[in-house]
Amino acid sequence: MKMNSAHLLFVTFLLLMYCSVSFTWSSSISSILPVKGPILQPELFESLANGAQKAMRACQTVFKWDKWNCPESSFSRRIKEKATKEQAVVHAMLSAGLVHSVTKNCSKGILKGCGCNPQLRGLSQTNPKYITSSRLIRPKEHSNKKIKVEWSWGGCSDDVEYGQSLAKKVLDGLEIGNYSKSYANLHNNLVGRTIIRNTMIKKCKCHGVSGSCSLQTCWMHIAPFHKIAKVIRQRYKKAVKINVENRASDSMSSSSITKISDISKHQLAFIETSPDYCLADSSMGWPGTKGRPCSRSRTETSTRLEKRSCKNLCRHCGHKVRRYKREIKMNCNCSFKWCCEVKCDICTETVVEFFCD
């Protein structure tokens, strides 16, 4: 069954709308969908939505103590969206989240169409680096036969590619319009897609003669998403500004601007400089840092950024740090019994909280 791009766009729009408007993804939404084609199986749709949600949560966790804390609003698509560093993160996170989620569901065996697909490798070679339309529809019948052949000869385990092709189809399909902005977005989608593969963890098992290592088989294990989010945060710091408009003769080309061809698929790209996140911007739905909590926690698990968060979020933005002292009831001395039994005492503890005021 062939799917037209308009339909895909519609679905993607729905998907992103639901991610940004309501966080809880209910399975009822997938049942509203009129079409259950090979691409739009409800399971697939649900795993895409889960991926988007996962991406958002992880993004908010890793950016918790930054000025820009990955708000929900940045995940909703607007025409006015600027191609800033932060938006680069959003694109990469979303794209990585989709791949992660689809790949996991492939391993669960509930998605049709994943498995080893050697022909996709060929596709990505013949096609240009970025595909702006959703032309990349998988030749379903053909691939199924090919999978069977592959399985009955060499075995197949590589299911990241399906997630990648799907994320590419869904997210890259949205990038129409402004060339330079699309270019940055497409690039950041690519960064997000490839990050899953780059962060995979190799595990091996010896199963040769008498269980010795004369025969060893290794497989790639998908990393937990918080690790991927962490990597994206690191890449956020090293993001490069690109100049997409071809103004070679112009004086615009300075050393700080990297040319398109130079950026690798491990670097996030942006075009516009970020606004001052201290200040609220109602048009973007950004509330500013006023009222944000910060931390002066000095435990060994708190990061450097967390320790400096009051300085960074409040004082640098001209806010004062307000200190609240309150008593809260907390779970303590817990004993856990798998799966579902957590027995805790209730302790009252005085906590000190800080806010930007």
Partner: protein
């Protein structure tokens, strides 16, 4: 009758033979590298958590109570009040997607990867004793969709080592544990159901918050099995033919075969057992002991080969004694090392793969006694290997020393006699050289295959399959080595030319014995070296 073929072969003929064998060797590497896929493949299956409303019935081996992909699934991230651990059954259907196993897949190893999430209120230890209540079922294509047949079940313990991330919501990184090993993959689909029982006696007490459990299955690849068996099918008759030819040669002589000839036959025979493509039987019959049998076949061949080396060195060392031992009894001390080593490995293998015939989930490594036992067998085997190696080195060194002593006497001999002894030394050196090269290639290829597997294979478009190439290459190499030994160390049929030894062409010189030679034993004629030297 003069000595072995090796001494009597002209340089040209020898180089032709070596050339042919080298071509066969290269062919073995190329077949593995370009025709075969990688030896084994794997699939990561994320187990589905199913809800079991009647947990008491789980252990009743009722064929109808299976949790299949159609079960009522549960999300572990949700809160489940009122449920306990026995209500949760982890399900994995093998293989994934719409595929099915073929009997060419040979065997199946299942590995578990537990993913745990760190939660503030849950403390766990870094070493977790995981107790699983497992059962395995199978189904064939022609069976109705829901008909799963019981295969085996067990309550098993595994030790999982984890390192804590110390951050709420983050995952532990845990070690993988082997869950089962099936020696034969006779059916089309397999279904694994397991649960993690928790009780007050401390079973699974240290378990943290499990987010996912992956089941990784490893099977041989169909293509590799096909190539492998074709290779065996080709090598087997060739070997049998060579052995028959060799034995005929030996029997043409008017004497009983000597020890080394017997040993060559033993090496050939054990290789024939290894080469016999009996794996074809697995395509029709369910033979769970095939994996164990494969281990034993390989072990027996290598034991024979190791014995051959030490006796070969020994037979060429006993120069000074003048006493001709020529019997296996003389080498009992040298061979006992091999025997002890092989026996301990065999017992270890029987303890692991042997028990797998009865219970595929069994592992010797989970109990302290089992671990100590397994380790002691492996250490014993290691010590025997060490002793063997020291013995072998000592004997080779002695042989070389004796040869070099006698070599200094060589110029005083008559030309014919000198050429003859040079030939014997040459025979010894030839085997040494070839053996060292083969052993080195084996070790290097083992290291290479470790490296090849160790690399990330992503984004790599190289068509060469390194580990398969090394696998078939090394296998082919020991076959060709044995072929060469059988051919070159077979008795020669050439008649002695009466002392007209030295042709003008140095290359065409064929070594021959003196007619006065009193010894009828060709292969150990070096042992009569000392006596000869004194005559000279």
């Amino acid at each position: 009758m003069p000595g072995t073929i090796l001494e009597n072969l002209s340089g040209r003929k020898l180089s032709i033979l070596v050339g042919i064998l080298l071509i066969c060797q290269i062919a073995c590497f190329l077949i593995g590298g370009f025709v075969a896929p990688s030896p084994a493949g794997s699939q990561s299956i994320l187990t589905t958590v199913c809800y079991d409303d009647q947990p008491d019935l789980f252990n009743k081996n009722d064929d109808n109570r299976w949790f299949t992909p159609k079960c009522k699934s549960i999300n572990l991230q949700d809160k489940h009040s009122g449920l306990n651990a026995t209500n949760f059954v982890f399900m994995g259907k093998m293989p994934l997607y719409n595929m099915d196993f073929s009997r060419w897949h040979q065997n199946l190893v299942g590995v578990l990867q537990v993913e745990m999430e760190h939660k503030k209120e849950i403390t766990t230890t870094n070493v977790i004793d995981l107790t699983l209540d497992v059962k395995l079922g199978y189904r064939n294509k022609e069976d109705p969709d829901d008909k799963w047949t019981y295969h085996s079940s067990s309550v098993e313990k595994r030790i999982v080592e984890c390192s804590s991330p110390n951050k709420d919501g983050y995952s532990y990184s845990c070690s993988t544990v082997q869950l089962f090993e099936l020696g034969s993959l006779h059916h089309d689909y397999y279904l694994l159901n397991f649960r993690i029982p928790v009780d007050d006696k401390g079973t699974n007490a240290n378990l943290g918050f499990i987010s996912d459990i992956y089941l990784i299955i490893i099977h041989m690849n169909v293509g590799f099995t096909k190539v492998w068996l074709s290779l065996k099918t080709v090598l087997f008759p060739v070997l049998i033919a060579i052995m028959v030819w060799f034995w005929n040669r030996v029997h043409l002589l008017q004497r009983t075969p000597v020890l080394l000839e017997y040993l060559l036959m033993i090496v050939g025979g054990t290789l024939a057992i290894l080469d016999a493509p009996i794996e074809f039987l697995t395509l029709y019959f369910d033979i769970p002991f095939m994996l164990l049998l494969g281990d034993i076949r390989q072990g027996v061949f290598y034991a024979a080969l190791l014995s051959f080396w030490i006796i070969f060195a020994g037979e060429h060392m006993l120069i000074q004694d003048g006493v001709h031992k020529n019997s296996l009894k003389a080498y009992w001390m040298h061979l006992s090392g091999i025997l002890v080593g092989c026996l301990s490995l065999l017992i270890f293998d029987l303890c692991e793969r042997g028990v797998h015939l009865h219970n595929p989930f069994y592992s010797i490594w989970v109990t302290p006694i089992g671990t100590n036992l397994a380790l002691s067998f492996i250490i014993l085997a290691g010590i025997s290997a060490g002793i063997y190696f020291i013995f072998l080195c000592y004997m080779i060194w002695m042989a070389y020393r004796n040869i070099s002593i006698k070599r200094s006497v060589l110029p005083t001999m008559s030309t014919a006699r000198r050429l003859h002894y040079e030939g014997i030394i040459y025979r010894f050196n030839f085997l040494m050289l070839v053996t060292v090269v083969c052993a080195a290639v084996t070790i290097v290829s083992f290291i290479l295959s470790q490296i090849a597997e160790g690399q990330n294979k992503w984004d790599e478009n190289v068509e060469l399959e390194v580990s398969s190439a090394l696998f078939t290459g090394v296998y082919g190499m020991w076959n060709i080595y044995t072929f060469a030994m059988l051919i070159l160390y077979a008795p020669s049929h050439k008649q002695w030319p009466t002392d007209s030894l030295c042709g003008d062409n140095g290359e065409e010189v064929e070594f021959s014995r003196l007619p006065t030679d009193p010894s009828p034993n060709e292969i150990s004629s070096l042992t009569t070296f000392a006596g000869k030297a004194s005559i000279d």
